[in-house]
Subunit: 326 residues, 2 copies
């Protein structure tokens, strides 16, 4: 939500010169990313036509290890026609600029700018389009050679729950502590292992989808992408798209999302049967990361932490209503 | 430095429909503004050609009173050929959208997007161009009908100094407390009153100038604009442009800035003679606002407050070296 590093025109111009994208015309720091800085750039373009890009500066070492996975995944998916931003390689062919900055501890990547805006209240038509694009992503990634473990899997939910502690969770909401105590062991014990696995986006909230009307123009923010159960990605997307601001289930959006998905990649009987459980797990994953953020965000921070009770209530909904996936 | 309010695609589209600028194609929250939220928007444009704008949401009532002054000043200056963003009026001809949001306490303005980037280390050629544009602004504003007092004038420096207190200033730097104790009463007592007055930008730091090479493509951020001594604006710009990161005076940049200014609006003998004092006042103004921010920014805030010692040292430089304006 901030730009951590100031880059003046001179530094930005020198940086852009490492890429074959023309010269700098404009650079605006954009309020995206939590631990990295982002700019929307305009250049004169390779052939004199104006071109736009997103420049990301990775500020912390911890982010660098997986950068080749994320950026080469974008290239792989874009080459197969998925609406994801292409990575712009530098003049030497590198996926990103490494060892940048006075201490050489930062990295920079340039990706394509895509048009579109993120919706707040998805319609069924929009959910159908997103379901279809998610399925296309899963198919397109089938031959992606790299692999990355899911850092936000079951073990991490358990670690976050322990780090918050029952008292911490109860301080947020007594109901949350009860849900975690009763549901997390059950989910961990029954989590499926034998469903089809592959590359998943793992965070496809409406914020991470650019749309123009009912058309998906961009799937963005792949920093949680990993290899995990493919149907779990549909469950994450379901948690993110099929409830309104007041956590009310939207049956038409849900049906459209699943139909859209299956119009491209039909679910197996096992995947379909697992969806109620995968939905509960997806809800638990966001409840736990939000609970941790809730307890660890300074009171005077500019960023308002998201309420973990939204996903926690959705978990209860999935448990009580498995038929929405039938 | 943040986007305080989330506007989804639906809300943003409805908002854009109030203006004759086509339909929404993209919206990125940009990391500009301290107490307002800003977005860089792309639309299909009036005539089907892509167009870009900056949308600003004013979050706090206190900002609204002076909005007509700021926005109509942009229109006035743009009409006279100054490189400032035009205000886009809504379909009913209003300068801005008022009574916006669930509580009706916000306002929104749409202004033109301008290309260009802000330099970090100005060259003499860039300072010359900025001097000339500042002078053109002063001439173009001569018949601007509205008026606004300078909220950051001598009385405000005194108020801020008192609010920080000698202990607070000494906590920042003992030298700062001494400078304020000895120089502020002297500046207040000798501040000129009979120099030519008019509309001034009052905050023309490199951050507020968009450039492409040596060409000024945009003068932006008019939220300190007011009616005050015209030569004081040149003094503010001098403080902001003519010293490097280590507070070392840059004689070639200084000479170019003043020459550029005088190539369009020659200074009177009285204005020139007052510049050393006006420079000290401009330095005091930024030292005091920064001192207050320094003492009142939470330790864990994302924004790093600017060091008041930079302008404080420049004050000493001007006092010791009045000949730089001779």
């Amino acid at each position: 939500m901030a730009v951590y590093t100031h880059l003046g025109a001179e530094e930005m111009s020198a940086l852009i010169a490492r890429f074959d994208v023309g010269t700098l015309v404009s650079a605006k720091g954009i309020a995206e990313g939590v631990s990295n800085s982002n700019w929307l750039l305009e250049t004169t373009g390779k052939d004199g036509a104006s071109a736009r890009f997103i420049l990301t500066m990775y500020e912390f070492r911890i982010e660098l290890e997986d950068l080749p996975y994320f950026l080469s995944l974008l290239d792989h998916l874009a080459a197969k026609g998925c609406p994801v931003p292409r990575t712009i390689h530098d003049r030497e062919g590198n996926l990103f600029v490494s060892e940048y900055g006075p201490n050489g501890d930062k990295a920079l990547a340039l990706i394509e700018y895509l048009p579109g805006v993120s919706v707040s209240t998805p319609t069924a038509g929009q959910a159908r389009a997103v379901g279809a694009e998610l399925a296309r992503l899963h198919l397109a990634a089938a031959d992606f050679p790299a692999s990355r473990a899911n850092g936000m899997g079951v073990a991490e939910w358990q670690r976050l729950a322990a780090a918050c502690g029952p008292e911490g969770l109860a301080r947020i909401n007594p109901e949350l502590a009860e849900i975690v105590a009763s549901e997390l062991p059950r989910l961990a014990a029954s989590w499926p292992a034998d469903l089809p696995a592959g590359v998943i986006h793992a965070d496809l909230f409406p914020d991470n989808v650019l749309m123009l009307g009912d058309k998906v123009t961009g799937l963005i923010d792949f920093y949680f992408a990993c290899n995990d159960l493919i149907a779990y990605d549909l469950a994450v997307t379901h948690v993110a798209w099929c409830f309104d601001k007041n956590d009310a289930f939207q049956p038409d959006v849900s049906q459209a999302l699943i139909e859209g998905y299956e119009s491209v990649r039909p679910l197996s009987a096992e995947e379909r049967a697992a969806l109620p459980l995968l939905g509960q797990g997806a809800a638990m994953r966001f409840a736990m990361s939000r609970a941790w953020d809730w307890l660890n965000t300074p009171a005077d921070a500019l960023v308002t932490p998201k309420d973990p009770m939204g996903p926690a209530r959705r978990l209860g909904f999935y448990k009580a209503n498995p038929q929405v996936f039938a």
